[in-house]
Amino acid sequence: MHYQPIIGLEVHVQLQTQTKIFCGCSTAFNPDQPNVQTCPVCLGLPGALPVLNGTALRLAIKTAMALNCQIAKFTKWDRKQYFYPDLPKGYQISQYDLPFSFDGQVELITNAETGESRPIRIIRAHLEEDAGKNVHDETGRGRDSMVDLNRAGTPLVEIVSHPDLRSAAEARQMLEELHALLTYLEVSDCNMQEGSLRCDANVNLHITKDDGTVVATPIVEIKNLNSFRFTEQAVEYEIARQWKAFQETGKTIKDAPKSTRGFDPDRGVTTIMREKEEAADYRYFPDPDLVPVTVTDEQLAAIRSEMCEAPAVMRKRFQSEYQLSAYDASVIIDQGRLLAEYFEATAKLCGDGKQAANWVTQDVLRVMKERKETIANFPLRPEVLGSLIARVTQKQLTIKSAREVFADLLTAEEDQTPAPSMAQIDEIVAAKGLAIVQDDGAMETAIAAVIDKNPKAVADFQAGKQAAVGALIGQVMKQLKGADAQAVREKILTKLSGG
């Protein structure tokens, strides 16, 4: 007997609009001052009416395009009705039977080493308003619960995947892939601590019995997972729990309806929230306060023209264009669009993608981590780093010297504005004499001069005293600090041998 986990995700993404989806209130995350970002509309006061924020729809369409979804030409708004204190109108404005997008897919990398991938199908993505937040007394003294409506009305895209995921790791990866995609597009900040990206996971197992028959375990929806790690842990736990439960009870999907569980990160377990998924009747119907939206081809073309390259595409391109390994490409891509752009600019300037990748993934990331800085604030701009790497690839500097320059540039940066420039590279190289001398003419001149000035040493050498050449090399090197000692030695020897 063996089993195959079957997992689908419902991902909620807050769009990064300045204002809410149906009113002009700010969407800023502001938990310390509850209910200040509110107005009659998002408070659900009598007589207040919603008006669609066009930017929210535009960002939502952008999201759906990135998920390779079909975009509906005609879409409308429906009321999803239920009572809850964080839902001031008693209904959520959402989309029911005509979502603005459907039928998409996301490529999920299934092997980080080889870059092998598999499509995960998207059923639909629809736009809706977020609810507020109930704040309960956690002192155990039974004080009143409070409601904060700052978040109420924040635009939210709900992305529903097919149950195409096959492991907890894949579930996590899918979420990471979406995170990368949506932050690249700048449609969401995807800040999971602030709830900008959160997901529900639907999990069950397909069990192949020893006689070859296949049965499914009851479906469980794990609600409100707000980190990559928790998603993976929760699904992992749920798979093990269902496997154990099946072995003990033999219950299948036919014996129990879908149930809802929550994840307790402290204990690492999922716990039951609703035993029987009550056939919730949300009484959806078209919101008569809002007009349906018709999206034109021109609008779609305009939105499409704003799209940036998707991270998955960029990852593949970095591999082919800059000869990066799948692993290096992923490391760079996963750091976000700004770092990927930083890498690419650097690679272009130095003409060596592999070297650029090494510098960015090792030196730049290390310094960013030490300084707790983002790439946007990193003091070395790509042109400076690119120029530095170019000196290595053009054999003007050794890697060791280049690291020294890199460190010096960063140290120097601490007490200066603007950021370090290419000119400073030259200053440091000159000051420390780090340049590799490749100018044969300069070397020839220096050697000729040294030979002229040291007839004794020359005579000694020609008399068979090999060590005498060392003194000559030392003098040349004194003049040409960045010179390659080996090259100098060879040239002197050639010269003295009558070459």
């Binding site: 006061l45 008006v51 009321r79 001031p88 109108k89 008693g90 119907f285 007009v291």
Partner: protein, 487 residues
Amino acid sequence: MSLCDLSAGTLWRKLQSGEVTAVAATTDYLNAITQFDGQVAAFLHVDRDTALAQATNLDAKRSRGEPVGLMAGLPVAIKDVLCIKGEPTTCGSKMLQNFRPPYDAHVIEKLRAADAVLLGHTNMDEFAMGSSSENSAYQVTHNPWDLSRTPGGSSSGSAAAVAARMAPVSLGSDTGGSIRQPAGLCGIVGMKPTYGRVSRYGLIAYASSLDQVGPFSTDVTAAAALLEAIAGHDPRDSTSVNQPVPSYTSTLDQPLQGLKIGVAKEFFAEGLDAEIEQAVRTAIDVYRGLGADVREVSLPHSKYSIATYYLIAPSEASSNLSRYDGVHYGHRTESATSLNEMYAASRGEAFGPEVKRRIMLGTYALSSGYYDQYYVKALRVRRLIREDFDKAFADVDIIAGPVTPTAAFKIGEKSDNPLGMYLADVYTISANLAGIPGISVPCGFTPAGLPIGLQLLAAPFQEERLLRAARMYERETDWVTRKPALA
């Protein structure tokens, strides 16, 4: 002589010319309220000081030589369904007994900008559900023509206040006839504009796809002025239509040439009182006398109006009224030990029986398994009703008919008979379903002395035509000069 004896249009013109001050008009109307409202019970809340202060400011503005707005200090009573910043706005419900909106409805902003004087809030059926004011949580309003009878509803107080000359004009809202029906029963002018002509922002929703704010007046002229003041696009209402507002008052007195009037045979069917039919047919003869071409039109689906309306309106209402849950504002029960209990008890205690009935009707109609056969089907019939009108208006300019099947009925007569009450709106509901404008104009009295209304309907955004047609009739008759003995 009190300024209340002038017709609203005359008073408005005198205010515009400066012949009468806003303070004088406001004072006279406030006095009339003091004198008559004990018997009529039209007002829920009168803010005398604020009204007088507005009038004083306006007069001062005028005396400084500054231009004054279109309303020029005309006092206006406001149905309690429209939010006025800081003033009690209850919608006739216990649910909102202590609610004071932090904002003005769009039409209130427009009235302030047009220099109207706001007299206060008028009584209504709870959440605009009803046709008699008997569903108000606070009081029953009496018909000034016969205090034992209803003024109609749901804009009961706004109609009765104008009929009793306690206000020259007022605002109501019309979802299935809630302006035209009480206007008809009270012998005054009442108009429901095209859906989308007037912003619903700040109008407490009953049925969002049908609700529309409109004017009451003792005559057509001031109704035109009031509509002109409140109409227009409002970006805060997505269903508000962005079309210029004609100057209704400047074209009002121009008679329509070659007017084609349609008479829908369905509006003269069984159930229409003979005395109403008589008065309406006589009114249509007046148009004939003015050279109008009167022809029959057919609205074959109008017989489904009430059934259609009582699926769509309660469906929307069941959703619109979900926000009254006792959590954020409004009535909250004192006795609840769980969240669900709090919801159930708060709503159970604060909603009246008709509101509960419609919430249940609507909840049922939207339930899964019933949605298609009720709500969706009603939407289909609604489209057929609209198409009937489209066809008819391809042929005629105006459709004329009765407003109500009977004159004002006795208070209490239909309070145990909800279906009978629903039938009071049989002729008005189809205009809401079709989204077209309609006006009720006084056209006579029953032998018992109760007013009878003539309803004129026009194609969408033909308010100007409708007002001119109404004014043509008004000039030929003297019904608007009649007022109840009480006033």
